[in-house]
Subunit: 384 residues, 4 copies
Amino acid sequence: MKNKKELRIGLIGCGFMGRTHSNAYKRVGDFFPALDYLPVLKAVCARNGDKVKSFAEQWGYESFETDWRRLIERKDIDAVDICTPNDSHAEIARAAALAGKMVLCEKPLARTLAESQTMVDAVEKAGVPNMVWYNYRRIPAVTLAKQIVDSGKLGRIFHFRANFLQDWTINANLPQGGEGLWRMDAAVSGSGVLGDLLSHCIDTAMWLNGGIRDVSAMMETFIKERMHQLTGHVEQVSIDDACTFHCHFHNGSLGNFESTRYARGHKALYTFEINGANASLRWDLHDLNRLEFFDNGDESRLKGWRSIHVTDGDHPYMDKWWVPGLGIGYEHSFVHQAADFLESLTTGKPCSPTFSEALETQKVCQAVYDSALTGTWRDTSINQ
Amino acid sequence: MKNKKELRIGLIGCGFMGRTHSNAYKRVGDFFPALDYLPVLKAVCARNGDKVKSFAEQWGYESFETDWRRLIERKDIDAVDICTPNDSHAEIARAAALAGKMVLCEKPLARTLAESQTMVDAVEKAGVPNMVWYNYRRIPAVTLAKQIVDSGKLGRIFHFRANFLQDWTINANLPQGGEGLWRMDAAVSGSGVLGDLLSHCIDTAMWLNGGIRDVSAMMETFIKERMHQLTGHVEQVSIDDACTFHCHFHNGSLGNFESTRYARGHKALYTFEINGANASLRWDLHDLNRLEFFDNGDESRLKGWRSIHVTDGDHPYMDKWWVPGLGIGYEHSFVHQAADFLESLTTGKPCSPTFSEALETQKVCQAVYDSALTGTWRDTSINQ
Amino acid sequence: MKNKKELRIGLIGCGFMGRTHSNAYKRVGDFFPALDYLPVLKAVCARNGDKVKSFAEQWGYESFETDWRRLIERKDIDAVDICTPNDSHAEIARAAALAGKMVLCEKPLARTLAESQTMVDAVEKAGVPNMVWYNYRRIPAVTLAKQIVDSGKLGRIFHFRANFLQDWTINANLPQGGEGLWRMDAAVSGSGVLGDLLSHCIDTAMWLNGGIRDVSAMMETFIKERMHQLTGHVEQVSIDDACTFHCHFHNGSLGNFESTRYARGHKALYTFEINGANASLRWDLHDLNRLEFFDNGDESRLKGWRSIHVTDGDHPYMDKWWVPGLGIGYEHSFVHQAADFLESLTTGKPCSPTFSEALETQKVCQAVYDSALTGTWRDTSINQ
Amino acid sequence: MKNKKELRIGLIGCGFMGRTHSNAYKRVGDFFPALDYLPVLKAVCARNGDKVKSFAEQWGYESFETDWRRLIERKDIDAVDICTPNDSHAEIARAAALAGKMVLCEKPLARTLAESQTMVDAVEKAGVPNMVWYNYRRIPAVTLAKQIVDSGKLGRIFHFRANFLQDWTINANLPQGGEGLWRMDAAVSGSGVLGDLLSHCIDTAMWLNGGIRDVSAMMETFIKERMHQLTGHVEQVSIDDACTFHCHFHNGSLGNFESTRYARGHKALYTFEINGANASLRWDLHDLNRLEFFDNGDESRLKGWRSIHVTDGDHPYMDKWWVPGLGIGYEHSFVHQAADFLESLTTGKPCSPTFSEALETQKVCQAVYDSALTGTWRDTSINQ
């Protein structure tokens, strides 16, 4: 084995995403042995000392901090990975960039377009490698979709549609805010399903189908008041429970997007479909190892949607895992993204999506938000 | 067998819908033997004499006409069934009502809300039985969905979404207008996918989920010019190739609808899904004998979408056909609707959807059209 | 319309199959207008006078009989169609052939191979057109499977597997024998699932994959005693509730077949799959408009099972029905078989499967039966 | 974090299974933090020095050996994990047991029943913890199936059927034997699909449905000669390419099993279904996060197969991973089995399947083999 260079990670936040990223760092070396760089779990940071200590021990971080500013100051950290709630993304990212650290950030970039812009400015000024964890791009079936689109097989694109359907907040007794539920407090999250779910759909959509020109949106908060965990009072719910929009892409195709946390029966049903003149594709997170593909060039009587089980050695990333037919899971998308980031340190090329690329998603999110509030079509360039 | 009363049918139009209706009339007696009324194929009418003669012979009509006014004048006709292109629905329906005939009409009611209103006025003034062939209500799986919704099992409704996806007009060399292609000429059809496809989705949606309050829509014509069959010239395409809208229902739920003839790989993929607090339902025309049902009341570890094969004796209409497990097809929805219409003659109750009920769909269609043209939200009551 | 020749039908038996055949005769002219022959429902026969009278009225038979011998004697009958329980197939068929009638017979040909042989001898001696209603061959997706196999696309065949799974006799209180339940009395039916279900699988299998050389089988009667409807006594159950066998085809491929009426959750789940070196096919009666097809010649990364929605104009029989995407049902297989039989009267070619071809299925059934009883492998030619 | 006890692992074999086991050991601590024991990757052993060194470095083993006897002698090894080809399982296991090591062994236990028996004898005499890696039991959907069966929901069982379909050896130019292809050389593997694939099916079947009484089997070698990698000569193929059997379970239900490496289009399609009087279950490795469940106790009109997405917190093992809706993969079954083995060290209870339990599977395999060779039914107790 060749000598590996170390990438010393400082992780901030030890919730759900802290776990997915930690797992990615720990596994990438086992499955991508040819990489020059290997992550080292140098430090993890969270405000709650007991919790962060326990997390550090469980995952094998060498040390921990309870103040993210101290973590950023440390000389033994190469890359800061931001897994905190959305309201601290911008401040941490700016500070980390200023300190010359590489910056990796969970999606969405920040609560608002304005906040996001400051982050892009900071990493570009500092000239540090940066990346946003829109992990679904690295599900092998989704990456294969990208390869097929790029091959030109689809021809002129007419439609892109995506849904992200969940059901976890239907219970009116579920509180909002605070531990485990900051996603339901817009002061922290910026928005509800728009930033949490639709941002994923928008990132994938623009990756596959190019930019979005203008949008017309609708948002709804079905349950208007919930107990707030931090105040203990029943308060107005500030987030969008559901958000739907249709749009025009720059290439002339139409988009239709829907997200909700009130679709009984669906836990994380992220689906998308793209229809071209010559072929179509669709994908479903609940059956994530498959890509469906319709090729209008097939013999007429034998045309049909192909269910591609994306587990073969010539499928993206799959030569790194097991043998054909044996599926992988959600978490592997993070391993792949970590591998691609490490690879980018060798090649010197940015690893997509960069902060700058993720800003484009923020622009669409902002336009969706503004459209829903005003009941009018909004151009995505209106706030630029 | 008891003595049957005759319902003497005069069918106008012998295209695709003329066939589905004729088949319905011929089969209903075989499978619904308890009905008091039996349709008699008295006459069929179409302008093309050779074609209508051949159709009459093939289907067993006793006679034929080439002028619909003559058919309406005939004393031996009880019910006029309108299967012509949309631009003649209103005039024929008004004349038939005036002549005291029962009036059955293919959907959509007419090209515009205004035209449709005159039809409602005419049948109501004449006091004649009337019905519009929104046939999908009588697919057994869809009727079962209605029964489940009416049982209250779904609880508060949050979402209704429906798509109607086709791919038959992607070819730019397909001409528009005239024989077989009048659906692509807005002067005849009134609109493209809006009246042809979305009207079905809207009818089902309002039947299952109540009225629609306001809409925000987008329409697109992907191929701007096509050769017109009647003029022989390349002319501007007047129809919508795709139409998408989101909306609010009166019950507070959100709707999202999409239709297109440019979704490569889909021939007639009409799907809908309804999400309630306690249960959800979904259906797919390409697998029409199934209804999917998610019941949140199921034991926690065992919750899942149930694939109900709607072919059992206690499923709607299915006791009339074969044995459990053996599916029926698209055409049976028309047989069921014919049976229900014949039954309504005995009970004296209107057979849904009546012209008046179908007018509600026209109001939504008009609001969708106006919204798409203006880029603004439109209230469905705005034109009333 | 050209002048049609009449084929005057005498139907014997007015149960489930009497209905499917009657429907086929009544519809074939509407949908296959180019045929030279048109069936005429001349007479129906059943022992129960009230029942047969009612059936004749409902379906429009011109007359009825209560003694099948009288029906066969009638000069105004061209073709005798046998829809009675299995124990009378042989006697009726021999008499009809002797009377010079064409003979159509429901499957299985008879209770035993020996009985079946007498029927083949009779129709061949009489030289009359004959056919057995193995209707599943004419489901368009199954016919398409045959076309694909015949095209050679599959290459060397390795495997054929088929299941026919039902659940209707699990209830131990279900009686056996008599009206509606003769299939559960081996004295009448000859066997249980073997003749009722597996015979269909075997017919399709040999049609697609050639003859079967030898078999190794297992049969089981799960519920040993049931009340007999005719005697009113609890009696030993004489039929097989489940029957499974594996086999060698003459082409060297392996077969695996299973049938049961004790598979909870399945009503009529007839499925088959065929695996060739270059391609594979599978089909499912519960989703009968689809054929799944895997082509190993597809581009490597894009290989997958294609779900062919067999509703297009270039699919077998489908140009006769509606428009692409709109499915048909179980009953249509009988319409198609009727059409093919009528066509065969014009061409003079036998319509498959003839009695002689169906005898091959009986040979396999007999070998399966004998193998299960003896616990040994049985050659299918052993009784010839 | 409490102080962990170490379980020092000595892994023998660094092929496909060496990787899955190593991954399991490395991940189990991250996701099962409550365990008392933590695996330590002490040493890995393989004959090829370069290969084992590279493997040790990639996976983080502290040391490596090239002679398994040396590894077994080492005092710093607590548990020997056998991932070698089948021909060395017995010798290594016996030696390891004799040395007082815990013994974990890849399936199948050995090439023959006789070999397997010596292994059981050895571990029982030594009194060391032991386990066989029939990993599919620990796919959460399969574990859930076990819980449902154990709850009695299925009632009397009538049928169990399982298939394991692959297509990787269809190419006649694929050599046999040696590196990567020892599974195709019966001298090493003991058999073809019987030991490799059917043994999995049999293990799951008996776990869910109890013991198998007798079997009737068929085996086939489609491609009779292949080049042998070790000799360089074209030699007779000694393994079974396909193996099918039906059987009786002790509980009176019927079994039907099929496995092959010649089913074009399937990579690792392990499926099973169990039918009880009251409910049924089925599962599919290509969509491994789902369990299908039919409950005959559901309201009549609403009965249907439920597609349970086994990703919720109350599903087996799933509280350890991510959030509802996010699937896991094949490899996780090994992590779960490792966790259960570690847990068993605390509780002192054996971890299923032990060598003794796996011997039952060997008995069925032997009976299948003998049945196929002799063409007769074989009792599974015949060789005891």
